[in-house]
């Protein structure tokens, strides 16, 4: 599998898949990531997967309100704003999933009584939104210098009515799928940090999706590594 890399002044892109048409079940869309693009937050990143794009900003470790402070670790907050409209229940539930993933990975015990806030803005949604949000949040946390015990990534799988597995589905594939499974995996041993699923699937299919996601996460982590190496090679 070859990766095509173009080095622009600011855009760091890597194609983690063959170019169109996708081989069924096996490939991820084109990735791109840009870090440190916002001036106000302590860390920021923009992550693109195909046409899905999410912008993330991280503030922290910063002051926290006394009502929200935790005496022995940092208070992690995630705010997800949809592209149009006010945030609703779906955003709240995604925020909670992302927050649980981040809490498992961020070393909050090093900064007690502080707050770390991750703000995510959906710029365009063309499928696998939660996975893109997770990736953007991870890159933004790294950019902000928040201490973490591992990196994490999100991968989405869709199962269509015949049982074919598609990784990183587009919006159309998601609508036609019988089940959509999103996993968050960590970088040390590719363990499962978070999973959320929607639809009908069997036990064996769950294991198959998980294995495919673990294999795909290698690409994502390799892309993270190259993206960060390029960033530090400039200084």
């Amino acid at each position: 599998m070859e990766g095509v890399m173009q080095t622009d002044a600011k855009m760091r892109t890597e194609s983690g898949a063959e170019s169109s048409p996708r081989a069924p079940g096996c490939s991820l869309r084109h990735f791109a990531c840009e870090q440190n693009l916002l001036s106000r937050p302590d860390g920021s990143a923009s992550f693109l997967q195909g046409d899905t794009s999410v912008l993330a900003g991280v503030y922290g470790p910063a002051e926290v309100k006394v009502s929200k402070e935790i005496f022995n670790k940092a208070t992690l907050e995630v705010i997800l704003r949809p592209k149009i409209g006010l945030p609703g229940v779906a955003e709240k539930s995604r925020e909670r999933l992302i927050r649980n993933t981040c809490e498992a990975v961020v070393l909050g015990a090093l900064h007690p009584r502080t707050s770390i806030t991750v703000v995510l803005q959906v710029v365009s949604d063309a499928g696998s939104l939660l996975a893109c949000c997770l990736n953007a949040a991870c890159m933004a946390l790294v950019d902000a210098g928040v201490p973490m015990r591992a990196l994490f990534c999100g991968v989405t799988c869709a199962l269509d009515s015949e049982g074919t597995l598609v990784l990183d589905p587009t919006a159309k594939q998601e609508k036609e799928a019988r089940a959509i499974l999103t996993f968050a995996l960590d970088s040390v041993e590719r363990k499962l940090l978070m999973s959320t699923t929607k639809g009908l699937y069997s036990d064996a299919e769950l294991q198959q999706c998980l294995a495919a996601a673990q294999a795909a996460s290698q690409h994502v982590f390799r892309f993270y590594r190259e993206s960060l190496q390029r960033r530090y090679s400039k200084s």
Binding site: D42, G43, P61, P112, E189, R222, S235
Partner: protein
């Protein structure tokens, strides 16, 4: 599923820790584990269980290694917690063995560290202490007696909104940070209230460290341009003052831009300014 990916031989820290020595000056990512030199010997050639016979088996000289920012101790190994370049400093002098390992990362947010000299802004006066904003998660406290020549009768002239240059005496994750404007001998040593006028601006922490490195040419070149007064705070704040407002603004812009410019671009800009 089998055709998914020709899994590349390298795995991202997939359970295999690398020796710290081999990764020096390379970019390391959070989650990687690093082996310290003495442990590599224990792993042995191939680690198949063959070890050289030692006469004093069981007694191994331990070297004390200091774990700097960005690294944590995790059992016998070092766990990387921030992304950046791994650096190492040899132990200087006779005693201290092992040296220091740390990760050079780019960050904007400051976390108070004991002994750091910082520029703070006084935000409140309450009783005997001043509350000073240093850019961390909590305002630091500064006692009014912590100035040179200050006594209970002779209070220092500090108002809300003043700039203070001081150092931390207490700075850990569990307590509120405390700073003082005198050194251990009771002398100010350059610390205290920063004078009138001038401009305070914020840069990244990495740039401050770069500018304060012993062999930094940027400062020397800037000094040749205009006469100036400059104060660097390790919390990413720089205060600069030149003769006119225009010169001050030019200096502030140059220092902010230094982060992204290469040495050649910098020299071009300096030569253009020197002419005008």
């Amino acid at each position: 599923m089998a055709g998914v990916v020709a899994v590349a031989a390298e795995s991202l820290a997939g359970g295999r820790a690398r020796a710290a020595r081999t990764v020096l000056d390379q970019v390391v990512l959070p989650g990687e584990e690093l082996l310290l030199p003495e442990q590599e010997d224990a792993e042995g050639p191939g680690g198949t269980g063959e070890r050289p016979l030692r006469l004093n088996a069981g007694v191994r000289a331990r070297v004390r290694v200091v774990c700097g920012p960005g690294l944590r101790r995790c059992g016998d190994r070092l766990l990387v917690t921030k992304c950046g370049r791994l650096r190492y400093k040899e132990p200087g002098g006779s005693g201290g063995g092992g040296g220091v390992y740390w990760v050079d990362s780019q960050q904007k947010r400051y976390v108070p560290v004991k002994g750091d000299h910082v520029i703070g802004i006084v935000t409140a006066k309450s009783g005997d202490i001043f509350k000073v904003d240093v850019g961390g998660s909590e305002p630091a406290s500064l006692s009014y007696l912590a100035f040179e020549g200050a006594t209970k009768r002779n209070r220092p002239n500090v108002q809300v909104g003043d700039l203070i240059y001081g150092q931390f005496v207490v700075a850990n994750k569990d307590m509120e940070p405390e700073m003082v404007c005198i050194d251990s001998c009771g002398r100010a040593n350059g610390m205290g209230v920063i004078g009138q006028d001038g401009l305070l601006f914020k840069v990244t922490l990495g740039l401050i460290r770069k500018l304060l490195a012993p062999d930094c040419e940027i400062l020397q070149e800037v000094g040749k341009l205009y006469p100036l007064e400059i104060v660097f705070g390790m919390n990413g704040r720089i205060w600069v003052k030149a003769k006119t407002i225009q010169q001050t603004l030019i200096l502030a812009n140059i220092l902010e831009a230094c982060e992204h410019m290469t040495a050649d671009q910098r020299k071009q800009i300096f030569s253009r300014l020197a002419e005008s």
